[in-house]
């Protein structure tokens, strides 16, 4: 996984709440067996509307998405993270995230910066008046900043560390394989097996 320390870039306001993972990428785009190329499915239904923010040239090239609360609720599809990454986003700022989406984001190198909704509203207002204002997401200090404003964001220590280091979870767990074997030796015998 790519590591992430700090990112300064253009931000895109997505002024909607409850953006579920079916909106981020509809199910018909989930049929690929590869791990890349999902950018075409990102917000597919809304992209047919020329006024949708993704179609506005002043936000082209944005790497940070600023969304309403409860972003990424619903389906567990990690394709939602891949679609955002494949499109070019490296961070999403919102007041609340769906739990599974947030977990997936941490595995896929996408920073989910949780802030107060008041911070989201401030950013929306700034970006509406000047889309070119650069925004910084700093994972070291866990802050979001623009112009002369700096606001803290929440992200748990462990996910932050893994993102900073770009570590692979499976490698980390395999260091404790002996503990897993010990646990397995003590599992009750009545537990079911599939084969």
């Amino acid at each position: 996984m790519d590591s992430f320390t700090t990112l300064t870039g253009q931000a895109m306001p997505l002024q909607r709440s409850d953006v579920d993972t079916d909106q981020i990428i509809p199910a018909v785009y989930l049929k690929r067996v590869t791990r890349s190329g999902f950018e075409d499915g990102l917000f597919a239904a809304w992209r047919t509307d020329p006024a949708f923010v993704l179609n506005q040239p002043q936000f082209a090239g944005a790497t940070i998405l600023v969304a309403g609360p409860d972003f990424g609720t619903g389906s567990s599809r990690e394709h939602a993270v891949w679609a955002l990454r494949d499109y070019g986003f490296r961070a999403v700022i919102a007041a609340r995230f769906g739990d599974i989406f947030r977990g997936n984001a941490g595995k896929g190198g996408l920073v989910t910066a949780q802030v107060d909704q008041s911070v989201v509203r401030q950013l929306w207002a700034v970006l509406e008046s000047d889309p070119a204002v650069p925004v910084t997401v700093d994972l070291q200090t866990r802050t979001v900043s623009w112009l002369d404003v700096t606001e803290p964001f929440e992200l748990d220590d462990y996910t932050r560390w893994r993102l900073l280091e770009g570590l692979d979870d499976v490698d980390l767990t395999l260091r404790h394989e002996e503990s897993v074997s010990q646990f397995e030796a003590n599992r009750p015998g009545w537990l079911p097996a599939t084969a």
Binding site: D20, T73, H79
Partner: protein, 472 residues
């Protein structure tokens, strides 16, 4: 201090605990399907890793598969490739699979319980958010992403930070005609789509105790729609009766040993939940959604709300957008909303009791002109059981379509899609924009409401079909 049910199950699965790190949790059962697994198997292959416990892993084909002509090759080439990838991955890594055409094929969350693979106190994961269904047995069951699928395949564990705990208590007897689906839709409307975020919800109280196993699965299934990581119900005699004799349930001395353990799986009297919600079950009524998230619902006797009645800006804007998408006017009586399609099925309401409930309403009646009703059993076993009881004939006599098992129109990954601008009454779990097909409009309902709606052609409860009803 005592512990909650969720905490007991969590503690029993901690492989490793270290300060500043998530707990490493053991997974007792890993269910997989064609959509969220191919990239996980690819990851294993690239790293030269094996599946650690194929004997604790089970695959079935459900999301993509057609519900017609299942003896022919899958027509959609992209779906076919995905299904074939699952089969070849399972063959390569030694994972048992129930493919299309097998007697045990079906929706992953219907198959696990009916085989007796889902048992109290287990940890169950699947790359599907509705894994919460299995919590009905007192298992800790939750959906995971594809990276986590790969992690479980490789290690049979997951690193996780403990979930918070939340009690949703429903006391009293459900009024007649009010089902588990109405109950859980009402809970979601009460606490919101983010209300359970970060929490495991334990459903408690006499209304829950009074539910059958299948009804409990419907409740836990929808926990994710309230944002919860998982839903759980403490196992009791209803649970044990359901499990006894199932193919993978313990037998003989093992059954007795398992029962002794399962009876300990209750929240201690002095345990403290991080959050508690109490709802009077006696005041519940048939409940339907009018909007584009599962919390946007109301009793069927009500009307489409006026967005300006919401104090919260986000809720108001969300309601405005929802009404535009749904093509609805504030103030319209929910019972006056006509539908084009009725979908009976899904991991929420595709079990035999759901089909029986709907058939009981449809029997001797006809699906209204211009309405298409799809009946999609949750598994081949459910389909066969229904046919044994003659339910298929009840549905087809009424003019409904009797299909093969799968996820079908719940998410429209197969050919069963809701057309643009079309409106459905659906027993599934999500009314998101475009969920059942691009531009499709979904009203979530119970099987009873689905059946009555099919007959009247507008959102209805079985009570509306009585001769004493004000209209018709």
């Amino acid at each position: 201090m005592g512990r909650t049910l969720a905490e007991k199950v969590w503690e029993a699965h901690v492989v490793r605990r270290a300060a500043g790190e998530p707990d490493l949790l053991y997974v007792d059962l890993h269910l997989i399907h064609e959509v969220t697994s191919p990239q996980a198997f690819d990851g294993l292959r690239q790293a030269g890793r094996a599946v650690r416990r194929p004997d604790l892993t089970l695959a079935t084909e459900d999301h993509n598969v057609p519900t017609l002509d299942i003896d022919r090759p899958i027509a959609d080439p992209v779906s076919r490739v995905q299904v074939e990838a699952l089969r070849s991955n399972c063959a390569e890594f030694g994972v048992p699979i129930y493919p299309l055409g097998d007697a045990d094929q079906g929706i992953v969350h219907v198959v696990g319980p009916q085989l007796g693979l889902t048992q109290p106190g287990m940890t169950v994961v699947c790359g599907d958010s509705h894994t919460s269904t299995h919590g009905a047995f007192g298992a800790l069951a939750f959906g995971i992403g594809t990276s986590e699928v790969e992690h479980v395949l490789a290690t049979q564990t997951l690193p996780l930070n403990p979930f918070r705990t939340m009690a949703v208590t429903l006391e009293g007897e459900l009024p007649p005609g009010v089902s588990a689906k109405d109950l859980v839709l009402a809970v979601i409307a009460e606490i919101g789509t983010g209300g359970g975020q970060g929490h495991v919800i334990e459903f408690r109280g006499s209304a829950i105790r009074g539910l059958s196993m299948e009804a409990r699965m419907t409740v836990c299934n929808m926990s994710i729609e309230a944002g919860a990581r998982a839903g759980m119900i403490a196992p009791d005699e209803t649970t044990f009766d359901y499990l006894e004799g199932r193919p993978h349930a313990p037998q003989g001395a093992d059954w007795a040993a398992a029962l002794d353990y399962w009876r300990t799986l209750v929240t201690d009297d002095d345990a403290v939940f991080d959050r508690e919600v109490v709802i009077d079950a006696t005041g519940l009524a048939p409940f339907v959604t009018w909007g584009t998230n599962p919390a946007q619902g109301a009793p069927l006797t009500g009307s489409v709300p006026d967005p300006s009645s919401y104090a919260d800006t986000n809720e108001r804007v969300a309601a405005e957008k929802a009404l535009t998408y749904m093509g609805l006017q504030a103030g319209t009586r929910l019972r006056d909303i006509p539908v084009d399609t009725v979908f009976l099925g899904s991991c929420t309401n595709g079990r035999i009791e759901d089909l029986r409930a709907a058939a009981g309403v449809i029997r001797g009646r006809k699906v209204a002109d211009g309405v298409q009703m799809l009946v999609v059993p949750g598994s081949v076993r459910v389909r066969l059981a229904a046919e044994e009881e003659g339910l298929d004939v009840v549905f087809t006599d009424a003019g409904a379509e009797w299909r093969h098992a799968g996820c079908s129109m719940c998410l429209g990954m197969n050919p069963d899609q809701l057309g643009s601008g079309k409106r459905s009454a659906s027993t599934s779990n999500r009314n998101f924009e475009g969920r059942q097909g691009k531009g499709g409009r979904t009203h979530l309902v119970s099987p009873l409401v689905a059946a009555a709606t099919a007959v009247r052609g507008t959102l209805s409860s079985p009570a509306d079909l009585l001769p004493t009803a004000p209209k018709d």
